[in-house]
Amino acid sequence: MSIMSSYARALAAQEGRAQPVATVRHVHLSAAPMVFIPLRLAGEAAAPLAAMVGTDPENPRLLVVPQPRNRDLRFAFMAELADVMLPYIEGFAEVVETVEAKTPYERYADAPQILVPSRGGVAFTKLLGRSTRFRRADGPYPVHPTVPVLGQWLTFFADRAEYAGSSALVAMTDALALHFATGQSPMEDANLATQLAWISPPDGQSGAKAALAAEDPLISPPAGPDTHPDFDGQVLEHAIRAYETSGSEAQVREALRSQLTPTWSLMWHAVRLLRGLPEAATVDVRWVRDREQFTRETARLAEGGSPRGRVDSAVRAAIRLADLESVVQTYEAQRAFDDPLVMIEHRVAGKAFTGEVVGVDAARRIVPAGKTRPAPRPLVTIRTSDPVRLSPGRKLFSSRNRKQRTEVVGIDGDLVVLQINDQMGRGASPAPGSLPEVGDVVCYAELDPGGGQRPRLPAGEDTPWTHGGPPTPYTPTDEDAEEAWS
């Protein structure tokens, strides 16, 4: 945590109310997101207990497993969940737009977005996907045909959630923390109820006080996936027993409804809060990626694509890791260039600075390293009061032109001299408007919206023997399909 966000936390604690750490909204918010609040049975790896799910705040759908230890009831629950989720997801695979590129391609105009309360919800979504994607509708332990399809989609969403800046599956507490600093610790921010209490306390109440009240599990039950131990012992256990003796799931339903409804309201409250923020400039760029991935996955599944294996092959794992890292860099850079409040963190750290251009040497030409002919390499001098901690040679980008490469030539007191390396047109001198002008206020940062250098990896079939040689693609096995879920 940076000194800036820590300062904001201190301020929040003092003021009794959360303080902004962003001026714009950095997550995409769909016009009709699906809120999904899954619960599981305590002590079990992936025994679903209940879920509240839907796209209409007024009309949540409650699904329960009246005896979570019963495998058949679990699969019935998953089939019911598929009934709700699959039409929502597949509903986006209708409107197509064509992208003009070297080879034009199509992608869906919009994509599904699932909102869960916390990171625990994301992790549990992943486990639910893992425990259902290999199942089959035939064989010794058949399940409803929609169950493995849902398993594949849940796996897809959980995978997307690992990519920084993806909005396909969002943990609400993370989304809120991106925009607000509360007066409590990050650990406590994982509790949606207290986090929201700090952000928008009831009228006339301080956030600190509201957060304290929101810690009462009777008022704000845990947002899952784990239920409160007291609820388990005092209510749920009896309700499950009642189901076993009477066969009626009414008690279990009502008990779980009482645990889920408060979180349901909080989730939509959070959605409204975030909607109130103007969208950041690059949110759409990132959402396009989510749409493209969704388009790809839809096509893959339509072609009968098999479920993702239990473990990735060496090459796939390496590519994925490189992707994840590059996406983090891009996302961090985009957020900073989108939002001056976010940029502060980098300025305080000395990796970015803002200042006024005091000199431009547009005519400078040198022979760049590795070249034979001189090329324009203008120098720009900026006066800044920021504590710059950059050394000559460092590559910088600016909010003015996020693609233009520049590098630090020298720093002298409060003057920073930069050399501009590209994006100046093809002429012998820089194209008009391609350089900042004296008097401009500019911001440069050691942040690469391009995601930095990607390592070159061999194609799958060229995997060296040290990494297991070319991987055999995962083919579904009977064993996976019949795996116990006890």
Binding site: A10, A46, Q184, D230, D232
Partner: protein, 363 residues
Amino acid sequence: MNRLDTLRGPVAPLDHNARTIAALAVNPGCDRRALLDAAGVDKQKTAAYVGHPAPFGQSPFAITRAASFDALVKANGCAHLLRLLRETLGLSISEAAYADISDVGGNDSHQMRHTRTRALLKRAAAGGDGSCTLFDHPLLKLTVAGHEVYLEPSIIAFQIEGRFHVVEIKSFAVVDDQADAGQVAAAARQSAVYVHALRELFAAEGLDPERVSHDVVLVCPKDFANHPTATLLDVRQQLAALRRQLSRLTRIDRILEELPADFTFDLETQSPDEVGKAVGSVGARFAPECLSSCEMALFCRAEARGDGSTDLLGRTARDALGGLESIPAVLGLADESRPPSPEQLEIAEQLRYVRRLYTEAIA
């Protein structure tokens, strides 16, 4: 009656387990916890008594699940466990002898069980006839903050070719060879406590402590089934951390010296207010992490709130704020309403700068 007994009042001291020791070692600077634990005070009761009941508990479902998995692993003469040990450590077929030390002929007193644990382990270490392979429920002892405590174990100790291992049975799942990192880390910290205690026992018996391996056998359910699987867990790092933390633990005597002779947390004779005052008079070191591990956490948090302590914001925030202790100090230095002391000059300058940029950006 010694002073710790006076502190606790006329009730039996609570047992320690690896979880409590590990938690204690996570926050070694906390006198309050050290004292309450050394005296075996029931922190849960005390916290509730002073109006700040512990924010956590265990679900009956989780307890049942853990117990039934434990029973499964140990059923039929530890049949599952033997298979796993044969597979992962190459335990020879002939080594299968099992001793249960959860009681000694029906007597389950700590003294008795500990004596028996020592005798059996010593015999096994000597490698003579009838030396055992598996030791269920060994009762160990550990010196914590200059005070000896018993460790109610949930483990099996096990020897292979004269080398002893700790077997920890946990009911969280290992899915596709991956388990929840937090739970594995907690298991490693707890196992390290047992390894440490076992080594102390060896040393006390004049045996080489290094005969207790730093590789712990972690037994968990595999994937979503109930089938046990074993992994070797190297706890060297946790051991080193534990040793360091235990050595740093404030000596109880030092804390006691500063307290009046009749000082007590006795819930029988003291009002909630008095107990609250007594607890409050022993220094604490609150961190948000306490909320998941210490029963007194909400009491301490309320106290920290009253003091406007930066501890409330989390350790990383506190560090980022240059270790300043109070929130008013942070904001005071930032808006220059408070003059910095010489050692605060640097952080004060940074805070002023942050405040300026922040205010600009918000405006």
